[in-house]
């Protein structure tokens, strides 16, 4: 069939979906990293509470973005049923919804014993009453008994959420920018990189006194590797788009000719923090400002990646 083509970007899923993907990846990866740190490196009450809190709050905010744009909000009940995952096994939103729900459930349970030990919740009226109820105390004891099992259930679901954010975009075959194996990898690496940046920011500011130096150094090293990995995946994506279909080439032109993407995301969101953290790892900094700066830049870059990705997907419509 000889056809002419019109190439167009979409205005269906825009900035609000980018926020959903960003908060989803960031919240889930933060929870997973803090729980793994607590289980295998060093028990870290504050980190776990922040990780679980960030996971629940960011995922709730992100999910609200999607929920707010649904045409029929009552029908969402269908996918709250865990069986939706098996009934619609090819639909990543069905899987993602379950990952989000169960990550929150196991995340809250894992953090519960720590919350009960903390002074602050005892000053909040509703929470104070809740955590002192006998059934909550019973659950808390049970969680202590099955500490790692509960932790792993939360971590697995958290990693599931981070991967899901990329798989969701990959499932749209018409857009070359999204429909390729680099996307889930890129979004997963980015999710964990932003989580490291978020935790470093916390540890250099709000948790400065309590933060463990060895964990902080480890997070910096891991973030450095993740940023390097992200740059490698981006380079592969660039090469794939450059020699790809017309949809791919047009997406590449949209992204790589845009200062927001090139300077904002790749420059300030990846390369500058990479060198700031590299110097920190190799020679150290006399002040915490460079690492705080790097963390803020990585966090901003994480959103920019998803924002530009949503707007740069090019459909090819024949006519």
């Amino acid at each position: 069939m000889e056809v002419n083509m019109t190439y167009a970007t979409q205005d269906i899923w825009t900035w609000w979906l980018a926020i959903y993907l960003y908060f989803g990846g960031l919240g889930a990866a933060t929870l997973a990293v803090t729980f793994l740190t607590d289980m295998y490196l060093k028990p870290s009450r504050d980190l776990v509470i922040w990780g679980a809190g960030a996971g629940v709050v960011l995922l709730a905010l992100g999910s609200l973005m999607l929920f707010g744009h649904l045409l029929d909000k009552v029908a969402v009940l269908t996918i709250l049923n865990p069986m939706a995952m098996f009934n619609q096994s090819t639909a990543w939103i069905a899987w993602g919804t379950q990952f989000i729900i169960w990550m929150m459930v196991w995340g809250v349970l894992y953090a519960l014993p720590y919350v009960r030990e903390t002074e602050f919740p005892k000053k909040v009226p509703v929470i104070k009453d809740l955590i002192d109820r006998p059934f909550v105390i019973g659950i808390s004891k049970l969680v202590n008994r099955f500490h790692r099992q509960v932790g792993w259930l939360a971590v697995v679901n958290g990693v599931g959420v981070a991967v899901y954010t990329g798989l969701l975009l990959q499932s749209f075959p018409a857009v070359a920018l999204w429909h390729n194996p680099a996307v889930p990898l890129l979004f997963t690496v980015s999710a964990f990189s932003t989580a490291m940046a978020f935790l470093l920011l916390l540890m250099y500011t709000l948790l400065h006194e309590q933060a463990d130096e060895s964990i902080r150094v480890l997070y910096e090293r891991i973030d450095l590797v993740l940023i390097a990995g992200e740059l490698v995946v981006l380079f592969s994506l660039y090469m794939y788009l450059k020699n790809g279909s017309e949809s791919a080439v047009r997406s590449l032109e949209l992204l790589w000719n845009d200062y927001g993407w090139m300077v904002g995301f790749i420059g300030f969101g990846l390369i500058v923090p990479f060198f700031l953290e590299l110097k920190g790892v190799m020679k150290g900094w006399s002040t915490r400002v460079p690492i705080i700066t790097a963390s803020v830049l990585v966090l901003a870059g994480g959103y920019m990646l998803r924002h530009y990705f949503m707007y740069a997907g090019v459909y090819a419509y024949p006519w």
Binding site: L70, I93, W319
Partner: protein, 205 residues
Amino acid sequence: MPHFAMVIDLNTCVGCNACMAACAMENQSPVWDVQKWRTYVHDKEIGLGSDVNRRFFPRLCNHCDNPPCMSVCPTGATQKKENGIVFVDQDLCMGCRACAMACPYHARVPVTHADMRKGREFYGSDYHRTSPSMDKCSFCDHRVEEGRKPACVETCVGSARMFGDLDDPEDPVAQMVASGAARPLMPHIGTRPNVYYIDDIRWRS
């Protein structure tokens, strides 16, 4: 079991848009918003200078055998019948729009609460929609079940739209597809569409 398909002959489409009107009335589409019609006819000019031709290009859901809109639907609202027709169960659809993102043919449209309010005013007591959802062409499955043709096919003045059964070797639609005269759009994506087009450009002088 039949395997329904549509062949569109671009040589005989005159761009009268009767198919759009027939579809809209038959399926109570939001006619007040041209972006929300289930089928539409592109009016494009091809060529340069004095060698310019108009091409009318009818578009609709391609009722793919491997429909990406169904794969990504989290609620199971998008379903495929054994006869090949892809349809939306309005009551199951939550309107996340993933189907619209997945569809390479731009064949998914949102029908909102506001559209339903207007629909009740426009179509009166006959209005049958009960909930908002993503909408699409259903090959007029309610008519097909009664042995009739889709409204757009029945109303087409140039017989540009033809509807038939690919599994029936005597069916002209099956023969046109088998001969290669009618071909699908973007088969490389792997959607295996069931709407085929007979090219007009190659016959132009």
